[in-house]
Protein backbone atom coordinates (compact mmCIF):
# COMPACT_ATOMS: atom_id res chain seq x y z
CA UNK A 1 0.00 0.00 0.00
CA UNK A 2 2.35 2.71 -1.25
CA UNK A 3 1.95 6.01 0.52
CA UNK A 4 -0.81 4.65 2.70
CA UNK A 5 0.26 3.60 6.13
CA UNK A 6 -2.16 1.81 8.38
CA UNK A 7 -3.00 5.16 9.95
CA UNK A 8 -6.72 4.99 9.56
CA UNK A 9 -9.30 5.20 12.28
CA UNK A 10 -12.66 3.52 12.76
CA UNK A 11 -15.28 5.14 14.96
CA UNK A 12 -19.04 5.03 15.59
CA UNK A 13 -21.36 7.62 14.08
CA UNK A 14 -24.07 7.06 16.66
CA UNK A 15 -25.59 3.62 17.30
CA UNK A 16 -26.46 2.80 13.69
CA UNK A 17 -23.49 3.90 11.59
CA UNK A 18 -19.74 3.39 11.57
CA UNK A 19 -17.04 5.36 9.76
CA UNK A 20 -13.56 4.48 8.57
CA UNK A 21 -11.51 7.66 8.16
CA UNK A 22 -8.33 7.44 6.10
CA UNK A 23 -6.94 10.84 7.00
CA UNK A 24 -9.46 13.70 6.93
CA UNK A 25 -8.05 15.45 3.86
CA UNK A 26 -8.64 16.12 0.19
CA UNK A 27 -6.18 13.75 -1.42
CA UNK A 28 -6.60 11.79 -4.65
CA UNK A 29 -5.02 8.59 -3.35
CA UNK A 30 -7.07 8.54 -0.17
CA UNK A 31 -10.17 9.20 -2.26
CA UNK A 32 -9.34 6.33 -4.64
CA UNK A 33 -8.86 4.07 -1.62
CA UNK A 34 -12.15 5.26 -0.07
CA UNK A 35 -14.03 4.41 -3.25
CA UNK A 36 -12.31 1.02 -3.40
CA UNK A 37 -13.41 0.32 0.17
CA UNK A 38 -16.95 1.39 -0.71
CA UNK A 39 -16.99 -0.94 -3.74
CA UNK A 40 -15.57 -3.81 -1.66
CA UNK A 41 -18.36 -3.32 0.90
CA UNK A 42 -21.10 -2.96 -1.70
CA UNK A 43 -20.12 -6.35 -3.10
CA UNK A 44 -20.53 -7.99 0.32
CA UNK A 45 -24.11 -7.39 1.52
CA UNK A 46 -25.27 -8.50 4.97
CA UNK A 47 -28.70 -8.47 6.67
CA UNK A 48 -29.33 -5.11 8.35
CA UNK A 49 -27.11 -3.11 6.00
CA UNK A 50 -28.81 0.16 5.06
CA UNK A 51 -26.32 2.28 3.11
CA UNK A 52 -22.66 2.88 2.30
CA UNK A 53 -21.45 6.42 1.72
CA UNK A 54 -17.93 7.25 0.56
CA UNK A 55 -16.74 10.84 0.99
CA UNK A 56 -13.38 12.62 0.44
CA UNK A 57 -11.33 10.31 2.60
CA UNK A 58 -13.84 8.21 4.51
CA UNK A 59 -16.49 5.55 4.14
CA UNK A 60 -19.54 5.21 6.37
CA UNK A 61 -21.73 2.14 6.71
CA UNK A 62 -25.29 2.66 7.94
CA UNK A 63 -26.91 -0.35 9.56
CA UNK A 64 -29.80 -1.52 11.69
CA UNK A 65 -28.25 -3.14 14.77
CA UNK A 66 -31.54 -4.77 15.82
CA UNK A 67 -31.94 -6.24 12.34
CA UNK A 68 -28.39 -7.63 12.49
CA UNK A 69 -28.97 -9.24 15.87
CA UNK A 70 -32.34 -10.70 14.85
CA UNK A 71 -30.76 -12.09 11.67
CA UNK A 72 -28.06 -13.76 13.75
CA UNK A 73 -25.18 -11.78 12.19
CA UNK A 74 -23.99 -10.56 15.56
CA UNK A 75 -24.94 -11.25 19.14
CA UNK A 76 -26.58 -8.55 21.28
CA UNK A 77 -24.08 -5.73 21.81
CA UNK A 78 -21.74 -7.10 19.15
CA UNK A 79 -22.96 -5.41 15.96
CA UNK A 80 -20.44 -2.58 16.19
CA UNK A 81 -17.48 -4.89 16.78
CA UNK A 82 -18.58 -7.06 13.86
CA UNK A 83 -18.69 -4.01 11.58
CA UNK A 84 -15.36 -2.73 12.84
CA UNK A 85 -13.86 -6.06 11.82
CA UNK A 86 -15.51 -5.79 8.42
CA UNK A 87 -14.09 -2.30 7.84
CA UNK A 88 -10.57 -3.36 8.86
CA UNK A 89 -10.82 -6.26 6.43
CA UNK A 90 -12.10 -3.90 3.73
CA UNK A 91 -9.08 -1.65 4.31
CA UNK A 92 -6.71 -4.60 3.94
CA UNK A 93 -8.37 -6.17 0.93
CA UNK A 94 -9.85 -3.30 -1.07
CA UNK A 95 -7.68 -1.83 -3.77
CA UNK A 96 -4.84 -2.24 -4.45
CA UNK A 97 -4.02 1.36 -5.20
CA UNK A 98 -3.55 2.05 -8.90
CA UNK A 99 -0.14 3.16 -10.14
CA UNK A 100 -1.69 6.17 -11.81
CA UNK A 101 -4.92 7.97 -11.20
CA UNK A 102 -5.97 7.98 -14.83
CA UNK A 103 -8.57 5.69 -16.25
CA UNK A 104 -11.73 7.19 -14.74
CA UNK A 105 -14.59 8.13 -17.02
CA UNK A 106 -14.12 11.65 -18.48
CA UNK A 107 -17.34 13.66 -18.71
CA UNK A 108 -17.43 16.96 -20.59
CA UNK A 109 -19.85 19.55 -19.20
CA UNK A 110 -20.86 22.50 -21.43
CA UNK A 111 -21.05 25.73 -19.42
CA UNK A 112 -22.21 29.20 -20.34
CA UNK A 113 -20.03 31.70 -18.50
CA UNK A 114 -21.92 34.82 -19.60
CA UNK A 115 -24.63 37.28 -18.60
CA UNK A 116 -27.48 35.98 -16.48
CA UNK A 117 -25.91 32.51 -16.48
CA UNK A 118 -22.89 33.78 -14.54
CA UNK A 119 -24.25 35.98 -11.74
CA UNK A 120 -21.03 36.12 -9.70
CA UNK A 121 -18.40 35.98 -12.48
CA UNK A 122 -17.56 39.68 -12.59
CA UNK A 123 -17.46 40.03 -8.81
CA UNK A 124 -15.07 37.09 -8.45
CA UNK A 125 -12.92 38.29 -11.36
CA UNK A 126 -12.68 41.77 -9.83
CA UNK A 127 -11.78 40.28 -6.47
CA UNK A 128 -9.09 38.17 -8.09
CA UNK A 129 -7.82 41.10 -10.16
CA UNK A 130 -8.17 39.34 -13.49
CA UNK A 131 -10.44 39.80 -16.49
CA UNK A 132 -13.47 37.44 -16.52
CA UNK A 133 -12.09 35.76 -19.68
CA UNK A 134 -8.93 34.77 -17.85
CA UNK A 135 -10.95 33.35 -14.96
CA UNK A 136 -13.05 31.30 -17.39
CA UNK A 137 -9.85 30.16 -19.12
CA UNK A 138 -8.41 28.93 -15.83
CA UNK A 139 -11.67 27.17 -14.91
CA UNK A 140 -12.00 25.38 -18.27
CA UNK A 141 -8.29 24.44 -18.37
CA UNK A 142 -8.62 22.03 -15.46
CA UNK A 143 -9.44 18.33 -15.50
CA UNK A 144 -11.32 17.79 -12.24
CA UNK A 145 -11.83 14.68 -10.18
CA UNK A 146 -15.27 13.95 -8.72
CA UNK A 147 -14.22 13.32 -5.12
CA UNK A 148 -17.71 12.68 -3.86
CA UNK A 149 -21.41 13.28 -4.40
CA UNK A 150 -23.17 14.94 -1.49
CA UNK A 151 -25.03 17.99 -0.16
CA UNK A 152 -27.81 17.70 -2.79
CA UNK A 153 -28.91 14.77 -4.97
CA UNK A 154 -26.20 14.47 -7.65
CA UNK A 155 -24.03 17.41 -6.45
CA UNK A 156 -20.39 16.65 -7.41
CA UNK A 157 -17.52 17.96 -5.30
CA UNK A 158 -14.79 18.60 -7.88
CA UNK A 159 -11.14 19.35 -7.30
CA UNK A 160 -8.76 20.81 -7.35
CA UNK A 161 -9.38 24.34 -8.46
CA UNK A 162 -6.49 26.38 -9.90
CA UNK A 163 -4.75 28.13 -7.00
CA UNK A 164 -5.49 31.55 -8.47
CA UNK A 165 -9.24 30.87 -8.22
CA UNK A 166 -9.27 29.94 -4.54
CA UNK A 167 -11.93 32.00 -2.76
CA UNK A 168 -13.78 31.73 0.56
CA UNK A 169 -17.50 30.91 0.46
CA UNK A 170 -20.08 33.67 0.34
CA UNK A 171 -20.89 35.04 3.80
CA UNK A 172 -24.59 34.18 3.25
CA UNK A 173 -26.10 31.52 0.98
CA UNK A 174 -28.04 32.84 -2.01
CA UNK A 175 -30.52 31.26 -4.40
CA UNK A 176 -28.81 29.23 -7.14
CA UNK A 177 -30.52 27.91 -10.26
CA UNK A 178 -30.22 24.26 -11.25
CA UNK A 179 -27.07 23.86 -13.36
CA UNK A 180 -25.21 26.65 -11.56
CA UNK A 181 -21.44 26.07 -11.58
CA UNK A 182 -19.92 27.29 -8.34
CA UNK A 183 -16.48 27.72 -6.83
CA UNK A 184 -15.44 27.86 -3.17
CA UNK A 185 -12.20 27.08 -1.41
CA UNK A 186 -10.17 24.84 -3.68
CA UNK A 187 -13.30 23.22 -5.04
CA UNK A 188 -15.77 23.62 -7.84
CA UNK A 189 -19.19 22.02 -8.09
CA UNK A 190 -22.46 22.01 -9.99
CA UNK A 191 -25.88 22.57 -8.38
CA UNK A 192 -28.17 19.86 -9.78
CA UNK A 193 -31.34 21.48 -8.42
CA UNK A 194 -32.54 24.97 -7.54
CA UNK A 195 -31.17 25.50 -4.04
CA UNK A 196 -29.71 28.01 -1.64
CA UNK A 197 -25.94 27.84 -1.99
CA UNK A 198 -22.84 29.49 -0.57
CA UNK A 199 -20.52 29.00 -3.55
CA UNK A 200 -19.79 31.73 -6.13
CA UNK A 201 -21.71 30.97 -9.32
CA UNK A 202 -19.53 31.69 -12.35
CA UNK A 203 -21.53 29.84 -15.00
CA UNK A 204 -24.39 27.49 -15.70
CA UNK A 205 -24.76 24.23 -17.57
CA UNK A 206 -27.91 23.20 -19.44
CA UNK A 207 -27.05 19.57 -18.76
CA UNK A 208 -29.19 17.82 -16.15
CA UNK A 209 -26.94 16.62 -13.31
CA UNK A 210 -29.84 14.84 -11.63
CA UNK A 211 -32.85 13.36 -13.35
CA UNK A 212 -35.22 11.66 -10.91
CA UNK A 213 -36.91 9.73 -13.74
CA UNK A 214 -33.71 8.29 -15.19
CA UNK A 215 -32.62 4.78 -14.35
CA UNK A 216 -29.33 6.21 -13.03
CA UNK A 217 -30.55 9.59 -11.67
CA UNK A 218 -27.10 11.10 -11.03
CA UNK A 219 -25.03 11.98 -14.11
CA UNK A 220 -21.73 11.80 -12.22
CA UNK A 221 -20.29 9.42 -9.68
CA UNK A 222 -17.27 9.58 -7.42
CA UNK A 223 -14.12 8.77 -9.36
CA UNK A 224 -15.25 10.37 -12.64
CA UNK A 225 -13.26 13.19 -14.20
CA UNK A 226 -14.92 16.37 -15.42
CA UNK A 227 -13.83 18.93 -18.00
CA UNK A 228 -15.79 22.16 -18.60
CA UNK A 229 -16.33 23.52 -22.13
CA UNK A 230 -17.46 27.09 -22.84
CA UNK A 231 -20.73 27.57 -24.69
CA UNK A 232 -22.63 30.71 -25.73
CA UNK A 233 -26.04 31.75 -24.37
CA UNK A 234 -27.52 30.63 -27.73
CA UNK A 235 -25.95 27.18 -27.32
CA UNK A 236 -27.27 27.06 -23.74
CA UNK A 237 -30.84 27.67 -24.90
CA UNK A 238 -30.54 25.17 -27.76
CA UNK A 239 -29.25 22.41 -25.48
CA UNK A 240 -31.93 23.18 -22.86
CA UNK A 241 -34.60 23.05 -25.55
CA UNK A 242 -33.26 19.78 -26.93
CA UNK A 243 -33.23 18.30 -23.39
CA UNK A 244 -36.81 19.28 -22.67
CA UNK A 245 -38.01 18.01 -26.08
CA UNK A 246 -36.27 14.72 -25.48
CA UNK A 247 -38.34 14.28 -22.33
CA UNK A 248 -41.68 14.72 -24.10
Amino acid sequence: MSGLSSSYSVFPLGDSAITIDLGNCIDEYLNVKSIAIQDWLVARPFPGRLDIVAAYSSVTVFYDPAGMVLAGIAGPGEAYAWLEGLLRKAFEEAGPLPDTLEGGRIVEIPVCYAGEYAPDLEKVAAQKGMPPEELVGLHTAGLYRVYMIGFLPGFPYLGRLHGRLEIPRKPQPEAVRAGGVGIAGMQTGIYPLDSPGGWWVIGRTPVKLFDADAEAPALLRAGDQVRFRTISPVDFREISFANSSANL
Binding site: P76, F151, L152
Partner: protein, 330 residues
Protein backbone atom coordinates in the same frame (compact mmCIF):
# COMPACT_ATOMS: atom_id res chain seq x y z
CA UNK B 1 -60.94 3.05 -3.71
CA UNK B 2 -59.57 6.33 -2.41
CA UNK B 3 -59.78 9.35 -0.23
CA UNK B 4 -59.43 12.92 -1.28
CA UNK B 5 -57.90 15.99 0.28
CA UNK B 6 -60.62 18.60 0.82
CA UNK B 7 -58.22 21.02 2.44
CA UNK B 8 -54.45 20.49 2.74
CA UNK B 9 -52.58 20.89 6.02
CA UNK B 10 -49.33 22.72 6.71
CA UNK B 11 -47.18 19.86 5.39
CA UNK B 12 -48.73 16.49 4.57
CA UNK B 13 -46.36 14.12 2.81
CA UNK B 14 -46.19 10.44 2.00
CA UNK B 15 -43.39 8.77 3.98
CA UNK B 16 -42.18 5.31 4.83
CA UNK B 17 -39.17 4.00 6.75
CA UNK B 18 -36.77 5.81 4.44
CA UNK B 19 -34.90 5.57 1.18
CA UNK B 20 -31.73 3.70 2.06
CA UNK B 21 -28.89 2.87 -0.29
CA UNK B 22 -28.54 6.06 -2.33
CA UNK B 23 -26.32 8.19 -0.12
CA UNK B 24 -23.50 7.84 -2.64
CA UNK B 25 -25.53 9.85 -5.19
CA UNK B 26 -26.46 12.45 -2.58
CA UNK B 27 -30.03 11.22 -2.01
CA UNK B 28 -30.89 11.36 1.69
CA UNK B 29 -32.95 8.69 3.44
CA UNK B 30 -35.89 10.97 4.23
CA UNK B 31 -38.73 8.88 5.62
CA UNK B 32 -40.94 9.37 8.65
CA UNK B 33 -39.52 11.64 11.35
CA UNK B 34 -41.12 9.36 13.96
CA UNK B 35 -40.33 5.95 12.51
CA UNK B 36 -41.94 4.11 15.44
CA UNK B 37 -45.30 5.86 15.00
CA UNK B 38 -45.22 5.15 11.26
CA UNK B 39 -44.47 1.45 11.88
CA UNK B 40 -47.25 1.11 14.45
CA UNK B 41 -49.77 2.92 12.22
CA UNK B 42 -49.20 0.26 9.59
CA UNK B 43 -49.20 -2.73 11.93
CA UNK B 44 -52.47 -1.69 13.60
CA UNK B 45 -54.34 -1.96 10.29
CA UNK B 46 -52.66 -5.22 9.26
CA UNK B 47 -50.06 -3.74 6.89
CA UNK B 48 -46.40 -4.49 6.56
CA UNK B 49 -44.41 -1.87 8.48
CA UNK B 50 -42.80 -0.66 5.23
CA UNK B 51 -46.07 0.53 3.67
CA UNK B 52 -46.52 4.23 2.92
CA UNK B 53 -48.20 6.45 5.52
CA UNK B 54 -49.10 10.12 5.50
CA UNK B 55 -47.06 12.31 7.82
CA UNK B 56 -49.19 15.20 9.03
CA UNK B 57 -48.08 18.45 10.66
CA UNK B 58 -50.38 20.87 12.47
CA UNK B 59 -52.63 22.38 11.17
CA UNK B 60 -53.66 19.10 9.58
CA UNK B 61 -55.67 18.39 6.45
CA UNK B 62 -59.35 17.61 5.95
CA UNK B 63 -59.84 14.29 4.25
CA UNK B 64 -62.97 12.83 2.66
CA UNK B 65 -63.25 9.04 2.65
CA UNK B 66 -64.80 7.85 -0.59
CA UNK B 67 -65.23 4.32 0.71
CA UNK B 68 -65.42 2.46 4.03
CA UNK B 69 -61.82 2.36 5.24
CA UNK B 70 -59.83 0.88 8.09
CA UNK B 71 -57.40 3.54 9.33
CA UNK B 72 -55.04 4.19 12.22
CA UNK B 73 -53.65 7.49 13.47
CA UNK B 74 -50.50 7.46 15.57
CA UNK B 75 -47.91 9.95 16.80
CA UNK B 76 -48.85 13.50 17.77
CA UNK B 77 -52.26 14.33 19.23
CA UNK B 78 -54.06 16.73 16.90
CA UNK B 79 -57.43 15.54 18.35
CA UNK B 80 -58.60 13.76 15.17
CA UNK B 81 -62.34 13.69 14.49
CA UNK B 82 -64.65 11.94 12.04
CA UNK B 83 -67.58 14.24 11.22
CA UNK B 84 -66.72 16.22 14.36
CA UNK B 85 -66.73 13.20 16.66
CA UNK B 86 -63.39 12.50 18.30
CA UNK B 87 -61.73 9.21 17.36
CA UNK B 88 -59.02 7.38 19.32
CA UNK B 89 -55.35 7.39 18.34
CA UNK B 90 -53.02 4.36 18.40
CA UNK B 91 -56.04 2.17 17.68
CA UNK B 92 -57.59 0.87 14.43
CA UNK B 93 -60.82 2.60 13.39
CA UNK B 94 -63.24 1.68 10.60
CA UNK B 95 -64.59 4.89 9.07
CA UNK B 96 -67.74 5.07 6.95
CA UNK B 97 -67.84 6.15 3.34
CA UNK B 98 -68.44 9.92 2.85
CA UNK B 99 -67.23 10.94 6.30
CA UNK B 100 -64.59 13.63 6.86
CA UNK B 101 -61.43 13.35 8.94
CA UNK B 102 -60.33 16.58 10.53
CA UNK B 103 -57.66 17.65 13.06
CA UNK B 104 -59.19 20.60 14.91
CA UNK B 105 -56.67 21.26 17.67
CA UNK B 106 -53.08 20.73 18.62
CA UNK B 107 -52.91 18.96 21.96
CA UNK B 108 -49.38 17.63 21.91
CA UNK B 109 -46.60 16.50 19.59
CA UNK B 110 -44.94 17.36 16.31
CA UNK B 111 -46.40 15.10 13.63
CA UNK B 112 -48.95 12.32 13.34
CA UNK B 113 -49.27 9.42 10.91
CA UNK B 114 -52.28 8.15 8.99
CA UNK B 115 -52.31 4.61 7.63
CA UNK B 116 -55.02 2.84 5.63
CA UNK B 117 -55.54 -0.91 5.46
CA UNK B 118 -53.84 -2.27 2.33
CA UNK B 119 -51.66 0.82 1.99
CA UNK B 120 -51.72 3.70 -0.46
CA UNK B 121 -51.34 2.64 -4.07
CA UNK B 122 -48.25 4.56 -5.19
CA UNK B 123 -45.13 3.95 -7.20
CA UNK B 124 -41.84 3.69 -5.36
CA UNK B 125 -38.94 5.94 -6.35
CA UNK B 126 -35.50 4.47 -5.62
CA UNK B 127 -37.05 1.69 -3.54
CA UNK B 128 -39.07 3.96 -1.28
CA UNK B 129 -42.43 5.73 -1.10
CA UNK B 130 -40.98 8.65 0.87
CA UNK B 131 -41.45 12.12 -0.59
CA UNK B 132 -38.19 13.88 -1.46
CA UNK B 133 -39.39 17.47 -1.80
CA UNK B 134 -36.00 18.74 -2.93
CA UNK B 135 -35.77 16.31 -5.84
CA UNK B 136 -39.53 16.54 -6.46
CA UNK B 137 -39.71 12.76 -6.50
CA UNK B 138 -41.22 9.90 -4.55
CA UNK B 139 -44.45 10.00 -2.56
CA UNK B 140 -47.45 11.54 -4.32
CA UNK B 141 -46.07 13.28 -7.45
CA UNK B 142 -42.99 14.32 -5.46
CA UNK B 143 -45.00 16.99 -3.65
CA UNK B 144 -46.79 17.71 -0.40
CA UNK B 145 -50.48 16.78 -0.64
CA UNK B 146 -52.71 19.55 -1.94
CA UNK B 147 -56.39 20.27 -2.37
CA UNK B 148 -58.14 17.83 -4.66
CA UNK B 149 -55.48 15.10 -4.50
CA UNK B 150 -57.07 11.65 -4.67
CA UNK B 151 -55.06 8.93 -2.98
CA UNK B 152 -55.91 5.46 -4.23
CA UNK B 153 -55.58 2.48 -1.90
CA UNK B 154 -54.33 -0.97 -2.72
CA UNK B 155 -57.07 -3.56 -3.22
CA UNK B 156 -58.15 -5.15 0.02
CA UNK B 157 -60.19 -8.16 0.79
CA UNK B 158 -61.91 -7.19 4.01
CA UNK B 159 -65.57 -6.18 3.91
CA UNK B 160 -65.54 -3.28 6.37
CA UNK B 161 -69.23 -2.33 6.10
CA UNK B 162 -70.08 -5.33 8.27
CA UNK B 163 -68.05 -3.84 11.13
CA UNK B 164 -69.98 -0.55 11.13
CA UNK B 165 -73.07 -0.41 13.34
CA UNK B 166 -76.20 1.28 11.99
CA UNK B 167 -75.94 5.06 11.87
CA UNK B 168 -72.45 5.23 13.33
CA UNK B 169 -69.81 7.08 11.36
CA UNK B 170 -66.96 4.98 12.66
CA UNK B 171 -66.24 1.91 14.71
CA UNK B 172 -63.17 1.50 16.92
CA UNK B 173 -61.63 -1.95 16.84
CA UNK B 174 -60.69 -3.38 20.23
CA UNK B 175 -56.90 -3.50 20.11
CA UNK B 176 -54.40 -0.79 20.90
CA UNK B 177 -50.76 -0.15 21.63
CA UNK B 178 -49.13 0.93 24.84
CA UNK B 179 -46.64 3.56 23.79
CA UNK B 180 -45.69 4.77 27.24
CA UNK B 181 -42.19 3.32 27.22
CA UNK B 182 -41.27 4.85 23.87
CA UNK B 183 -42.30 8.41 24.71
CA UNK B 184 -41.73 8.62 28.48
CA UNK B 185 -39.56 11.50 29.74
CA UNK B 186 -40.21 13.30 26.45
CA UNK B 187 -37.56 15.99 26.96
CA UNK B 188 -34.73 13.66 27.94
CA UNK B 189 -32.83 12.80 24.80
CA UNK B 190 -30.14 10.14 25.03
CA UNK B 191 -26.94 10.63 23.09
CA UNK B 192 -23.65 8.92 22.33
CA UNK B 193 -20.49 11.04 22.09
CA UNK B 194 -19.53 12.05 18.57
CA UNK B 195 -16.06 11.97 17.03
CA UNK B 196 -15.34 15.57 18.12
CA UNK B 197 -16.91 15.27 21.61
CA UNK B 198 -13.43 15.18 23.12
CA UNK B 199 -12.55 18.46 21.37
CA UNK B 200 -15.16 20.33 23.44
CA UNK B 201 -13.81 22.40 26.29
CA UNK B 202 -14.60 20.91 29.73
CA UNK B 203 -17.01 23.73 30.50
CA UNK B 204 -18.81 23.14 27.19
CA UNK B 205 -19.13 19.43 27.94
CA UNK B 206 -20.68 20.35 31.27
CA UNK B 207 -22.98 22.87 29.62
CA UNK B 208 -24.21 20.23 27.20
CA UNK B 209 -24.88 17.78 30.01
CA UNK B 210 -26.37 20.24 32.49
CA UNK B 211 -28.25 22.85 30.48
CA UNK B 212 -31.52 22.78 28.60
CA UNK B 213 -31.57 23.53 24.90
CA UNK B 214 -34.51 25.21 23.19
CA UNK B 215 -35.75 24.02 19.80
CA UNK B 216 -35.67 27.07 17.55
CA UNK B 217 -38.73 27.96 15.38
CA UNK B 218 -36.67 27.53 12.19
CA UNK B 219 -36.42 23.78 12.89
CA UNK B 220 -37.90 21.46 10.29
CA UNK B 221 -37.59 17.98 8.78
CA UNK B 222 -33.99 18.75 7.78
CA UNK B 223 -32.76 19.68 11.22
CA UNK B 224 -33.55 21.04 14.67
CA UNK B 225 -31.65 24.24 15.39
CA UNK B 226 -31.02 24.41 19.12
CA UNK B 227 -30.61 27.52 21.22
CA UNK B 228 -28.57 27.36 24.38
CA UNK B 229 -25.41 28.71 25.95
CA UNK B 230 -22.81 28.72 23.16
CA UNK B 231 -20.37 25.81 23.22
CA UNK B 232 -16.69 26.05 22.31
CA UNK B 233 -14.02 23.65 21.13
CA UNK B 234 -10.82 23.46 23.11
CA UNK B 235 -8.87 23.30 19.88
CA UNK B 236 -10.25 24.10 16.46
CA UNK B 237 -10.85 21.24 14.06
CA UNK B 238 -11.00 21.40 10.28
CA UNK B 239 -13.01 18.59 8.79
CA UNK B 240 -13.46 17.62 5.17
CA UNK B 241 -17.00 16.55 4.38
CA UNK B 242 -18.05 13.07 5.39
CA UNK B 243 -21.30 11.20 5.91
CA UNK B 244 -23.71 12.36 8.62
CA UNK B 245 -26.79 10.64 9.98
CA UNK B 246 -30.31 11.20 11.31
CA UNK B 247 -29.56 12.29 14.90
CA UNK B 248 -26.06 13.68 14.34
CA UNK B 249 -25.54 16.75 16.57
CA UNK B 250 -23.22 19.25 14.89
CA UNK B 251 -21.55 22.30 16.41
CA UNK B 252 -22.04 25.35 14.17
CA UNK B 253 -19.43 28.15 13.97
CA UNK B 254 -21.79 30.28 16.10
CA UNK B 255 -21.38 27.86 19.02
CA UNK B 256 -24.97 26.63 18.66
CA UNK B 257 -26.00 23.05 17.95
CA UNK B 258 -28.05 21.53 15.18
CA UNK B 259 -29.56 18.04 15.29
CA UNK B 260 -29.85 16.53 11.82
CA UNK B 261 -33.29 15.03 11.20
CA UNK B 262 -34.84 12.80 8.52
CA UNK B 263 -34.27 15.12 5.54
CA UNK B 264 -30.66 15.89 6.47
CA UNK B 265 -28.02 16.34 3.78
CA UNK B 266 -26.00 13.20 3.13
CA UNK B 267 -22.65 14.77 4.06
CA UNK B 268 -21.40 17.53 6.31
CA UNK B 269 -18.24 19.07 7.68
CA UNK B 270 -19.15 20.58 11.05
CA UNK B 271 -17.79 18.98 14.22
CA UNK B 272 -19.85 15.96 15.28
CA UNK B 273 -20.36 16.55 18.98
CA UNK B 274 -22.94 13.86 19.62
CA UNK B 275 -25.47 11.49 18.10
CA UNK B 276 -29.00 11.12 19.42
CA UNK B 277 -29.62 7.43 20.07
CA UNK B 278 -31.90 5.95 17.41
CA UNK B 279 -34.40 4.74 20.03
CA UNK B 280 -34.97 8.37 21.15
CA UNK B 281 -35.51 9.85 17.67
CA UNK B 282 -39.30 9.25 17.91
CA UNK B 283 -39.40 11.34 21.11
CA UNK B 284 -37.34 14.06 19.46
CA UNK B 285 -39.58 14.01 16.38
CA UNK B 286 -42.56 14.73 18.64
CA UNK B 287 -40.98 17.81 20.22
CA UNK B 288 -41.95 21.15 18.75
CA UNK B 289 -40.33 24.56 18.34
CA UNK B 290 -40.01 26.22 21.79
CA UNK B 291 -39.86 22.83 23.51
CA UNK B 292 -36.67 22.11 25.43
CA UNK B 293 -34.24 19.20 25.30
CA UNK B 294 -32.07 17.79 28.06
CA UNK B 295 -29.23 15.69 26.69
CA UNK B 296 -28.43 12.50 28.63
CA UNK B 297 -25.24 10.55 28.00
CA UNK B 298 -26.19 6.94 27.27
CA UNK B 299 -24.31 3.68 27.20
CA UNK B 300 -24.06 2.34 23.61
CA UNK B 301 -25.08 -1.13 24.77
CA UNK B 302 -28.26 0.29 26.28
CA UNK B 303 -28.94 2.29 23.10
CA UNK B 304 -28.83 -0.93 21.11
CA UNK B 305 -30.91 -2.85 23.68
CA UNK B 306 -33.67 -0.26 23.41
CA UNK B 307 -33.75 -0.74 19.64
CA UNK B 308 -33.72 -4.50 19.90
CA UNK B 309 -36.55 -4.67 22.43
CA UNK B 310 -38.59 -2.18 20.37
CA UNK B 311 -38.10 -4.33 17.28
CA UNK B 312 -39.16 -7.46 19.16
CA UNK B 313 -42.28 -5.74 20.47
CA UNK B 314 -43.16 -4.62 16.96
CA UNK B 315 -42.95 -8.23 15.77
CA UNK B 316 -45.33 -9.29 18.53
CA UNK B 317 -47.66 -6.41 17.71
CA UNK B 318 -47.67 -7.40 14.04
CA UNK B 319 -48.65 -10.97 14.81
CA UNK B 320 -51.40 -10.05 17.25
CA UNK B 321 -52.88 -7.39 14.95
CA UNK B 322 -53.02 -9.92 12.12
CA UNK B 323 -54.68 -12.46 14.40
CA UNK B 324 -57.27 -9.93 15.57
CA UNK B 325 -58.03 -8.82 12.03
CA UNK B 326 -58.42 -12.38 10.81
CA UNK B 327 -60.83 -13.18 13.65
CA UNK B 328 -62.86 -10.06 12.85
CA UNK B 329 -63.53 -10.94 9.29
CA UNK B 330 -63.83 -14.72 9.32
Amino acid sequence: MAFSIIKPGLLDTIQDLGRHGFGNIGVNPGGAMDVYAAQVANLLVGNDQHEAVIEIHFPGPQILFEQNTLIAITGANFSPTINDEEIPRWQPVVVRKNTVLHFPSLVQGGRCYLSVHGGYCLKKWLNSYSTNLKAGAGGFAGLALKKGDELPFNENTIYFAGLLKNESNFETLPWRVNTEKIYQYPHEIGFLPGREWECLSPSSKNALLENNFLIHPSSDRMGYQLKGSPLALERSVELVSSAVSFGTVQLLPSGQLIVLMADHQTTGGYPRIAHVVTAHLPKLAQLRPSDTIQFKLMDPILAEQLLLSRQKELHILQRSCMDHLNEMVC
